[in-house]
Amino acid sequence: MPLLAIENLAVSFETDEGIVDVIDGVSIDLAEGETLGLVGESGCGKSVTALTVMGLLPKPAGRVVGGAIHFDGRDITSLTSEELSTIRGRDIAMIFQEPMTALNPVHRVGNQLAESYRLHHPEASKAEIREESLKLMDHVGIPAAEQRLDEYPHQLSGGMRQRVMIAMALSSKPRVLIADEPTTALDVTIQAQILELLRDLQNEYGMAIVFITHDLGVIAELASRVVVMYAGRVAEAAPVDALFASPKHPYAQGLLASIPRLDSEPKSLLPTIPGVVPRIEDLPDGCRFSNRCAHARDACWTDKPAIESVATDRTVACLRWRELEQQAAASA
């Protein structure tokens, strides 16, 4: 049984223009200790999926309208916010995209770190908390931890702040860590350090990581399995090597084709996926990718593609994937 199982999740948002289905039938499994990459363009529902797992949907606009999220055998979508508080931060922790704003600017770093430790270890003494905080800061590679604890977030660099966020998330030794684009706001060199850190910490703590990003390079480096999302649905889910070797969904193909390669002709035009993700209010009825897909046929506009199994541990949601694969094989 997977540790975390998102089953046919549907989330809708109430907007000024009516109710929109932001997440439509998303199913994702996460095994104990694995690293899952969640990729897709901005606005495809990656973060909303993560926030739903955390029970952090913006209220009252966002609502779970279908499906379930099973964690450790319990459906967490049906828990009260008090029950959820015992899972949040303790079993499932999350780090965010913007380390600049995710920390409270008016509280000292040490207090914010101590706070998350105290929430899940209410019996701990002040000295214990301080000691544990120092250990955590040291663990996430913050030099001069003693001094840093007494500083405010604005006195730290972006990379250091993200390390503090990671330290806070790790304070209760969670079983699942959701990292929502944790390196997007950071310099490239710092990105590599943070990724390295997350990998080391995973080896040590053995937690499962859901890594949300739009950077396929990061996925290749870190994840063992990938879920490609498009406009609130799962387009393709596959082990990372299999996806990179032969993407089945035209959207996944497009994403991979738009990565610059060392063996491509210098200064040649980089392939892109034409168009942009449609506004969530006017998505196509059938396959949501149909208006941007080079292979779309009439049926794609009207029929919602089912999630089909390609191989063990591999699914795709495209009406024409078999056909396209045969075409590709024939032309090769």
């Binding site: 508080s85 931060g89 965010f96 409270n104 929430l119």
Partner: protein, 349 residues
């Protein structure tokens, strides 16, 4: 940071001189003054029942005082010298803490002001405490219960109070609760028999007299601060760090108080120092309606009576309070927001 505040304090002096020199010059330029007043009084006294030539300026030629006496008076009040000289003479006295003598009461200005201060401070502090005491909790509740019935009704009420001028509230309260229903005394700060009362009785007497004026003072003062608190808290509730706190496992209510509230007080802190000075100066309209001998009424009356030493004395105190209040605001902001570093090299993110 310290050097910033030292600099700010040093800047008080030139600002103070600028303010006072302006008003001092104005007092010389506007018609009327102690001599004219005296002339009128003398004329009244000299021609009992007879026709009185009022309006001192033009009537000077045929006045009861001789030119020599007038010149003597001008010397006495320092009107014989150029404005700038008499200004610096006045300023020199200020530095020795001598505010001069009231031309109306013929007693030291400081004595006149001092007798009004306790009343003004009482109303000022009461208004301050009640305003913040109501606005901050109300703003918090309104932010959490945004768009509920409670939120809408309380918004309507505070804006209703804000829309009515305070003197109208004062008059309406006075007519209804003091004149018609006779629940509260009509006017004054204390009753006539105040000195005969016990300590408890004195306290109750002051409170009894304070209810209606305080309502008039407060009616309009809730809207701005409450809405500021509410909007600021709502911004902060949507902030990433509140989400972080909840993601850590903190209950929403606790996250509101532990994380969002302090950050929401920052905009309020920027005006806190000024609030102090504004309430001490009081409102002459409300003081007039309720016949309270406070600062506002004193300032108004001394202006009407051309009692310039008192006008200048009040200006000295209120401008100093205002200047210090500004610095106080800065200190408040630095106190609640560690990111604020005044002076060179500080990065305000």
């Amino acid at each position: 940071m310290t050097s910033y505040f030292v600099r700010r304090f040093l800047l008080i002096l030139p600002t103070f001189i600028g303010v006072t020199i302006l008003v001092f010059t104005l007092t010389r330029l506007v018609p009327g003054g102690p001599i004219e007043r005296m002339l009128n009084e003398a004329a009244l006294a000299g021609s009992e029942g007879g026709a009185v030539v009022s309006s001192g300026f033009d009537g000077r030629g045929g006045s009861v005082l001789s030119d020599e006496q007038i010149a003597q008076l001008e010397r006495y009040y320092g009107f014989d010298k150029p404005v700038i000289i008499s200004y610096f003479e006045w300023l020199g006295k200020i530095f020795t803490l001598d505010l001069g003598t009231s031309t109306r009461y013929t007693e030291p200005v400081w004595e006149t002001i001092k007798s009004r201060l306790p009343i003004s401070i009482f109303y000022g502090v009461a208004t301050l405490i009640l305003t913040y005491g109501v606005c901050i909790p109300l703003g918090i509740v309104k932010a959490i219960k945004h768009k509920t019935v409670f939120d809408n009704v309380s918004s309507a009420l505070v804006f209703f109070g804000y829309a009515i001028p305070s003197y109208v509230v004062g008059i309406a309260c006075l007519t209804l609760f003091a004149a018609n229903l006779e629940w509260f005394p009509l006017a004054g700060f204390v009753s006539d028999d105040f000195d005969d009362l016990t300590t408890m009785g004195k306290a109750l007497d002051i409170l009894d007299h304070a209810v209606l004026p305080l309502i008039a003072y407060l009616a309009g003062s809730f809207a701005v601060t409450t809405l500021l608190m509410k909007n600021s808290l709502m911004d902060n509730l949507a902030a990433d760090y509140v989400r972080t706190a909840i993601a850590k496992g903190m209950a929403f209510k606790r996250a509101v108080f532990a994380h969002a509230c302090r950050n929401s007080l920052i905009p309020l802190a920027t005006s806190f120092g000024n609030t102090i000075t504004l309430v001490i100066t009081g409102s002459f309209l409300i003081e007039k309606i309720f016949n309270i001998d406070g600062f506002g009424l004193l300032g108004f009356e001394s202006l009407v009576e051309r009692d310039y030493p008192v006008v200048m004395g009040i200006l000295v105190i209120s401008s100093l309070l205002f200047l210090v209040g500004n610095i106080l605001s800065d200190i408040c902001v630095a106190f609640v927001d560690p990111r604020v570093k005044f002076g060179s090299g500080g990065s305000n993110q």
